[in-house]
Symmetry: C2
Subunit: 356 residues, 2 copies
């Protein structure tokens, strides 16, 4: 019998309640597929600050390093917004990505036909959209040095450094081409090679890696044009691969196209241990009310089984369960529309677990 140890980090805001539903679904999966799943819980973000004074405690680091995969709820909230930069909840995210060497962030933006009306785009523009944004996650301007606020003469200057080594571009490009092979075989590499030398190198390396993937179509697009094309005709995209900063921006734009952020998962992979989390935040305004949508977290479990445990059949089973529950008309508040059946966070978790 297969056995996996999963580090479960509920985090802040709605984190605990949505993660609880994801655990229900994991329990159902474990039974159906005859896998043993062991959960170990850890503190992260604001919850960790409150308990230990730091957002990413040593204990949590040890916990995740001894696990097979990490499931994260969400971190942050107004309570910790005024802390100094260095100990804010977000540091935990960045620290975790680095620690796990999770250099490839996969963010699918896929429209659920049942939720097409939730999009602000016209149905004919958005119908069938299925984009996988692959964002470089452990380098670029997020981590480059020098960075900081310095004094230069009479005034201060803020500095960050965008920096990409060839091997960093190469490995993310490989992930993109591999993923594209299992999809519609098209990669759009987004850069700003008409201005930024770092992305001149990016483009060159992506071209080089492409030689090994001649069955996949590759095109290059400047980031400003990409931001337009995502709005103009999103169906033109299959896989988008880009830098850490551009990926942060474009993946959120792609997600918003679908109109239902509460549905969208993410995977951060590349190292031995993968990190899985919903793309939405901790939503402190609705925390503890049993109204949050747990599906993004549940779908993140699906990605975990594909990318960490090489069991895509589990992701499929979860996806089918989610679609069935939607087809039956069940909706949490964020995706509710007239005539549908409004359910709570708990109920949605139960419904999906039952379908599996």
């Amino acid at each position: 019998m297969k056995e996996f140890k999963i580090a479960v980090l509920p985090g802040d805001g709605i984190g605990p309640e949505i993660v609880k539903q994801a655990v229900k679904v994991m329990d159902a999966v474990s039974e159906k597929f005859d896998i043993k799943l062991k959960y170990e819980y850890g503190l992260i973000g604001g919850a960790a600050i409150d308990e230990c004074g730091v957002p990413f405690p040593e204990e949590t680091k040890e916990l995740i390093l001894s696990s097979d995969a990490v499931l994260l709820g969400a971190v942050g909230g107004p309570k910790w917004d005024n802390l100094p930069f260095e100990i804010r909840p977000e540091r935990a995210l960045l620290g975790m990505r680095k620690l796990l060497n999770a250099f490839a962030n996969l963010r699918p933006a896929k429209l659920y036909d049942e939720l097409i009306d939730a999009s602000t785009l016209k149905p004919e523009v958005i119908k069938g959209v299925d984009i996988m944004v692959i964002r470089e996650l452990t380098s670029g301007i997020y981590f480059g040095i020098p960075k900081g606020i310095f004094v230069d003469g009479e005034e201060r200057v803020g500095i960050n450094t965008m920096r990409y080594y060839e091997h960093e571009v190469e490995r993310i490009a490989r992930v993109a081409f591999e993923v594209a092979r299992k999809r519609r075989k098209k990669v759009t590499s987004v850069d700003k090679a008409n201005v930024l030398e770092a992305t001149v190198l990016w483009r060159e390396v992506v071209e080089k890696v492409h030689e090994d993937y001649q069955d996949v179509e590759l095109n290059h697009m400047y980031v400003d044009n990409a931001a337009m094309q995502i709005i103009r005709w999103p169906k033109q995209f299959d896989v988008i691969v880009t830098t850490n900063m551009f990926g942060d921006i474009l993946s959120d734009a792609c997600a918003m196209l679908t109109g239902s952020l509460g549905m969208l998962p993410s995977a951060s992979i590349g190292g031995k241990i993968g990190l899985y989390e919903p793309i939405h935040g901790s939503a402190p305004d609705i925390a503890g009310q049993n109204i949050a949508n747990p599906i993004a977290t549940i779908n993140s479990v699906g990605m975990m089984f594909t990318y960490s445990f090489d069991m895509p059949e589990v992701e499929e089973a979860i996806d089918t369960a989610v679609r069935r529950v939607l087809a039956k008309g069940y909706r949490t508040r964020d995706i509710y529309s007239e005539g549908k059946k409004l359910v709570s966070t708990e109920e949605m978790g139960d419904l999906i677990a039952e379908e599996i």
Copy 2:
């Protein structure tokens, strides 16, 4: 009688034909408002490369420095795409911005009611959208050093540097608040202050400048969230002020919301001499066919009169003329829809000039 000298740089692709229409409109304005306008033509971009081997010749530099304002068509095209980085047409744009100290790039994204169907967003989401994106234009990661591709050990590394001095943030923030005062009095400053120290300083300085503009509302937004909010509910924005790179991306996203790039002008100001140009590119595929939309360039002339010559009444007159021509049903191909009257570039120029 007022007298202005305007440097006219048609550039590449559709540049010459759209600029020609803008000149017609300037002639009409000159007559109606009793102003003397003197045009001096110069080479830029690919046209300059073909003639002089460089995209931004000394002669053109002298020409613009001796003018009161610069009107630019567009630069670039496939013919020059494979030139080395340093002499590509885009260098001319960056060089010109620096030379003119045009640190504030104003890009209005305003919906024309008549063209609401051209948007890919639903009418109720897009109706009434009127955003002014103010992008910092002469600093940030576009210009920071070190930049380039270097060798580090066994491999190469691409580097760019984001760098903002306090005074650079202060002056762009002032422009934003001043512009907001003449609009709906709301500024959204977009940064990534949860990750980039350079924008921690940005946010702090914007807050400081805000003390002088207590009649204007200020809020801060992370760039990834801004990319979402622009798609989710664009009407929430009045003035957006942001860094060079974020502004490049977000201004194009905002423009695309309207669905009619062919209508949108831009102004690059801050120094003694302002630079005015359409936001769209040189569209080499339709160049010379007399089908391009000249309105973005004509609207750029409008901005020139407001921001360089302090004659907002001229911008108003141009705006009214454009709206009348649209109301009468005239459309160039890019904004054509059934039942409207299709006109050429030349005809559109004539129609608007006549209305003035």
